[in-house]
Symmetry: C2
Subunit: 211 residues, 2 copies
DNA sequence: AAAAAATTTAAACACCTGTTTAATACAAAT
DNA sequence: ATTTGTATTAAACAGGTGTTTAAATTTTTT
């Protein structure tokens, strides 16, 4: 009945809502805007989702699942050298993020404005993530024992990469519109980002190097 | 007439608005909430600020100035060793940010939802910032030529530190409520942050080390 | 084909939104 | 003391908000 990505009315509404929530936030999105975007009567939105809060929660949960499942697979799956995987991961993460800045901003802003949201998420994918992280930790430990990298925890590893890659994308508008970009000699954000990806890789290389 | 931080009615309204905008965002804040918090009639808010948009702009500009002026002084002013200044800067920045997460989230979210805001800011403090950055660049160049650090631009330098320090604080709620924190063996966020500050310093040390 | 159930609609509900008006209280100036 | 201008208020405004109702349409079942 309520499985997504079908051409059903419910899916149409959910997709419209998803875009609007990401762009305008919870308060900035109205039921009538959702209805209009989905080309549907307002009452129908309530018919399927019962309330704006329920609709939002439904959209939010889906977005969050996509967000937390994405990414770290690359680091464990293939059998490249670790540093090549890091490079690929930086590339993929920055591409994904600059394609849809709305998503991380949405998640950060809405979880801040309404911390209770996180409690409803449930930890259904937690187990899968735990396994992936354990795998990655094993890789990091093995590389360390082989004398290739310093000792490092998955937590620090993923926090470092995520911070370095995502934060500059979050502040894109501030950086570009304040002229910071130009001050550092870049014509546009993409040009800066291409440079920055190399810098992030270099930072991670330097940090990982055994001491 | 309109100078802040006096005990005037206008200042009272502005402070109430400032807190509410930071916590609830532009759309989430209403004129009546502002009036109530400032213990003042609704019409008075419009009497002093003419409209909600004008009030918001006024608050936003002040917040942004505080945001962009803060911080990088430490790196240029004193005559400590560079690495000690970096350590102190990490400490100060992370303390400021965790004291008021609302501010960076507010800035990121509102500039994203309304990019036009940045155009109204004006670049009045741009010159002062430019000078500070030129000073810092000179320090970095000198240290490089003395063989103490690798060649690095102010842009990369400040982007790296800011990303590493601020991003984990932005995602505090997500990190704590998803159990990530516990998964990495920390009891609470402050404990993690204390550990993370050391890691950031270590990352910066590794990256700065001459090659 | 008739009945039942699910879908969709227009219209209304009560409430909240930013803003304005016109009247009042208060201060300063004459 | 009276005028003048500022500060403050309660009340109203037109329009937007989430949600509900009751009727109409379509689909499914019998």
């Amino acid at each position: 009945m309520s499985d997504s990505s079908h051409d059903t009315t419910e899916a149409k509404i959910k997709e419209a809502a998803s875009e609007l929530f990401a762009t305008l936030g919870l308060k900035g999105t109205t039921m009538r805007k959702v209805a209009e975007k989905a080309d549907v009567n307002v009452a129908l939105v309530n018919y399927y989702f019962r309330s704006k809060d329920k609709l939002f929660l439904s959209v939010f949960q889906e977005k969050f699942r996509k967000y937390s499942s994405q990414g770290f697979d690359i680091l464990t799956s293939q059998s490249k050298a670790l540093i090549d995987k890091v490079e690929e991961f930086i590339e993929i993460l920055s591409t994904q993020m600059s394609k849809d800045v709305a998503l991380p901003i949405f998640l950060i802003a809405e979880t801040y404005h309404n911390p209770g949201l996180m409690e409803c998420i449930g930890t259904e994918s937690a187990e899968s993530n735990m396994r992936k992280k354990a795998d990655l930790q094993k890789i990091l430990d093995d590389e360390h024992e082989a004398g290739n990298i310093r000792k490092i925890s998955v937590g620090d590893f993923e926090t470092a990469i995520a911070s370095l890659v995502v934060f500059p994308i979050l502040t894109k508008i501030i950086t570009t519109k304040t002229g910071k970009m130009a001050a550092y000699g870049f014509d546009n954000f993409d040009q800066f980002l291409n440079h920055w990806k190399k810098t992030v890789l270099e930072i991670m290389k330097s940090y990982l190097r055994p001491i």
